[in-house]
C-alpha cells in the first residue's frame, strides 16, 4: 500500500478545534532521503512532524511510516485506534529533535542518552552506557559525558539531544528547527552533526531555515504554507527557480 517509502502522507488533515492546521498534505520520503521543509511560522510544519511521531492524531487522510498506518490499525474496512503500548513502540522507532532541545535537566549527558535504551528497550546498563558514550563521542562530546545540561552551551545541548534520539537506533529522524534557538556561531556544529548522519544514510525530515544546509544536504525541499505543500522539488530547483508566488515571496524574505 505505501510501496517502499519510509513516510507517505495522503491528504493528511489536522484541526485544533476550529483551526484547520493541515489541509491535505501529500508527500513521500524514501529510505535514506533527506527532506527539508521550509515555510512561514504557523504553516503547520511542527504539527506535521508531531503527527508522524504520534504526538498528534490526524483527523482525515492516511499517514504511513515504513508501510504501517500511523495511529490506527486497519482491519477489514474499519480503522481501530492503536493501544497506548503500540503507540509507544512506534514512537521508539522514530527519533525527534526539538527546537528547545528538551534535555532532561536532572540527568547528565550520559544519563540522558542512555535513558531510553535502558528503560524503554530494557537493555543492560553496561550496553546502554557503552553505546551512549560512543554516540556522544560521535557528536564531539566525549569530554562532556558526566556534565548536566545546564552546564552545556546550546549547541552542545542540541548535539546531546541528537545523540539521545540516535540511541534508540531509529529508522527515521525528525528535526524541528534544530538550530533556531542557537546563537549564530553555534549553528555550524549542530548542522555538522546532522550532515554526518545524512552521510551515514539516515532518513531525515528537517524543518529548517538554514538554506545552505538544505541546498547541500537535502535531497528534496518542500515549501509549506497555510497547511498545504505549495511547492516541492530538489533544493536547487526550488531555491533558484521557485514557481509559485508564495514561495518567491517567502524566499525573498529569508534569503
Amino acid at each position: 500500500m505505501a510501496g517502499g517509502a519510509m513516510v507517505k502522507a495522503e491528504e493528511v488533515h489536522k484541526s485544533f478545534g476550529r483551526l484547520e492546521v493541515l489541509r491535505g498534505i501529500n508527500l513521500e520520503v524514501q529510505p535514506k532521503e533527506v527532506m527539508c521543509v521550509i515555510g512561514p511560522s504557523g504553516s503547520g510544519k511542527s504539527t506535521f512532524l508531531r503527527c508522524i511521531n504520534h504526538l498528534e492524531k490526524i483527523d482525515a487522510g492516511r499517514l504511513y511510516v515504513d508501510g504501517e498506518l500511523v495511529g490506527y490499525q486497519q482491519r477489514g474496512n474499519k480503522l481501530y485506534e492503536l493501544p497506548d503500548r503500540e503507540v509507544c513502540r512506534k514512537r521508539s522507532e522514530i527519533g525527534m529533535v526539538f527546537q528547545r532541545f528538551n534535555l532532561f535537566p536532572h540527568m547528565t549527558a550520559l544519563q540522558n542518552v542512555a535513558e531510553a535504551p535502558l528503560h524503554v528497550k530494557g537493555e543492560s546498563r553496561a550496553a546502554a552506557e557503552a553505546r551512549a558514550r560512543k554516540l556522544l563521542e560521535r557528536v564531539g562530546l566525549a569530554d562532556k559525558v558526566d556534565v548536566y545540561p545546564n552546564q552545556l552551551s546550546g549547541g552542545q545541548q542540541q548535539r546531546v539531544a541528537i545523540a539521545r534520539a540516535l540511541a534508540m537506533q531509529p529508522k527515521l529522524m525528525l528535526f524541528d528547527e534544530p538550530t533556531s534557538a542557537l546563537d549564530p556561531e553555534l549553528v555550524g556544529e549542530v548542522l555538522d552533526a546532522m550532515r554526518g548522519l545524512a552521510e551515514d544514510g539516515m532518513t531525515m525530515i528537517v524543518v529548517t531555515h538554514e538554506m545552505g544546509f538544505a541546498r547541500e544536504v537535502g535531497d528534496t525541499l518542500v515549501f509549506m504554507d497555510g497547511g498545504v505543500i505549495v511547492e516541492s522539488g530538489t533544493p536547487r530547483e526550488v531555491l533558484a527557480n521557485p514557481r509559485h508566488e508564495r514561495t518567491k515571496l517567502f524566499l525573498s524574505k529569508v534569503l
Binding site: 511521531n53 504526538l55 497506548d84 503500548r85 509507544c88 513502540r89 512506534k90 514512537r91 521508539s92 522507532e93 522514530i94 527519533g95 525527534m96 526539538f98 528547545r100 528538551n102 534535555l103 532532561f104 535537566p105 536532572h106 540527568m107 547528565t108 535513558e115 531510553a116 528503560h119 524503554v120 548536566y148 545540561p149 545546564n150 552546564q151 539531544a161 539521545r164 534520539a165 534508540m168
Partner: protein, 326 residues
C-alpha cells in the same frame, strides 16, 4: 589590552589591576535597631523567667522524664506514619487528578474535596469512634457470606485512629502540592520523553516527578513540620504522645505551665532538626538545576562569622557570570 597593562594604574607585572580595597558602608541603624530588639526580647524572657509562681526546677525535672521521652517516641512515630501515608497517597491522587481518564480524576477530586473540607480533629475523632456505628470491619464479596472480618475496636486502636485521621487528611494536601509540582514541569519534557517511546507511567516516574521534586519539597518540609505539631491532636483519641503525656502529668501535679514549657521545648527542638534536614534534601534535588548548590547551614554560619561586614565571597571555582541562581 597592552595599553592598559602598561598604564600607570597597574603596578603588577601581570597586567591585572590591584584588587579594590574600599571602606564598606556602615549600617549604623542596623546596630541601633538590633540593640533595641535585643532589649525588648530580654525583658520579655526575664518577665517569664522570674515569674513568681514559675517553678523552673520542674521544667528541667520533667524535660527528660521517662514519660515525656516515651511520648516523644510516639509523636515521632505518628509523624512518620502519617507523612508516609500522606505522601504516597498524595502522589497517587495527584497523578490520578491529572489523568486523562475522567473516572480516576473525578475520584481524586472528590477525595480532596472531602478530606480537605472537614477538620482533621473531627476525622481523628471519627476513626476513634468508628466502632460505635460499625462494630465489625471486614472484606468480602458483596451479597455473599464469603470474606473475613474482625472487631473494629481491635483493628482501629487509638494510635491507628490517629494515624488514619492524620494521614488521610494529609494526603489531600499533599495531592495538591504534588499536582502543583507536576504542572510546573515544562511540557517539552513530557513530549521529549514520549517521543523516545516512554509510557505515561515512565514519563511521570522518571522524568516529571524528579523535576517536580524541586517544587514539591519545600512545602512538603513545611507539611512535615506542621504534622509534627498536629500529632498533638491525637490527644482526643487518648494517644499517649508528647502533648497528651505533658497534659497527664500536669493534671496530676498541677504544674500546667511548666509542662507546656516542656512540651514546647521539645516541639521546638524537633522542628529545628527537621528544618535542617529539609535544607539538605533540597540541595540534593537542586542538582542539574543550579550551577552552584546553595550553601549548607554550616557553611552559611561560617561565612557569617568570618565576613561580618563585607559581601559573602564567591567560591573560588565559580566565575561571577556563572553565579546566577534560579
Amino acid at each position: 589590552m597592552t595599553e592598559i597593562a602598561s598604564g600607570p594604574s597597574s603596578s603588577r607585572a601581570g597586567g591585572r589591576p590591584e584588587a579594590i580595597k574600599a571602606v564598606p558602608v556602615r549600617h549604623y541603624w542596623r546596630w541601633v535597631s538590633g540593640v533595641i530588639v535585643l532589649l525588648i526580647a530580654f525583658a520579655a524572657v526575664d518577665t517569664v523567667a522570674t515569674a513568681p509562681q514559675m517553678h523552673w526546677q520542674y521544667v528541667w525535672q520533667y524535660l527528660f522524664g521517662a514519660l515525656i521521652l516515651d511520648g516523644i517516641t510516639l509523636t515521632l512515630e505518628l509523624t512518620v506514619a502519617a507523612m508516609v501515608i500522606g505522601i504516597v497517597l498524595g502522589v497517587v491522587l495527584a497523578v490520578m487528578r491529572l489523568s486523562p481518564n475522567p473516572v480516576t480524576s473525578t475520584i481524586s477530586w472528590f477525595y480532596i474535596w472531602f478530606f480537605r473540607g472537614t477538620p482533621v480533629l473531627v476525622q481523628i475523632f471519627f476513626w476513634f469512634n468508628l466502632a460505635i456505628i460499625l462494630p465489625y470491619l471486614g472484606v468480602g464479596i458483596p451479597f455473599t457470606h464469603i470474606g473475613v472480618s474482625a472487631s473494629t475496636n481491635k483493628l482501629i486502636t487509638p494510635v491507628m485512629a490517629a494515624i488514619l485521621g492524620l494521614g488521610l487528611n494529609e494526603a489531600a494536601y499533599m495531592a495538591e502540592i504534588v499536582r502543583a509540582g507536576i504542572i510546573s514541569v515544562e511540557h517539552g519534557q513530557t513530549e521529549a520523553a514520549q517521543a523516545l517511546g516512554m509510557t505515561r507511567l515512565q514519563v511521570t516516574r522518571r522524568i516529571v516527578l524528579p523535576q517536580a521534586m524541586r517544587v514539591i519539597l519545600p512545602p512538603t518540609g513545611n507539611e512535615t513540620i506542621s504534622m509534627l505539631k498536629t500529632t498533638s491532636l491525637a490527644f482526643v483519641a487518648s494517644v499517649p504522645e508528647l502533648f497528651t503525656r505533658a497534659d497527664q502529668i500536669a493534671s496530676s501535679t498541677f504544674e500546667v505551665v511548666e509542662l507546656l514549657f516542656v512540651a514546647s521545648i521539645w516541639y521546638l527542638f524537633l522542628t529545628s532538626i527537621l528544618t535542617a534536614g529539609q535544607y539538605y534534601l533540597e540541595r540534593y534535588f537542586a542538582r542539574g538545576a543550579q550551577r552552584e548548590l546553595p550553601p549548607t547551614p554550616l557553611q552559611r554560619f561560617r561565612r557569617l562569622l568570618f565576613t561580618w561586614h563585607a559581601a559573602p565571597p564567591l567560591p573560588p571555582d565559580v566565575m561571577p557570570s556563572l553565579g546566577e541562581h534560579r
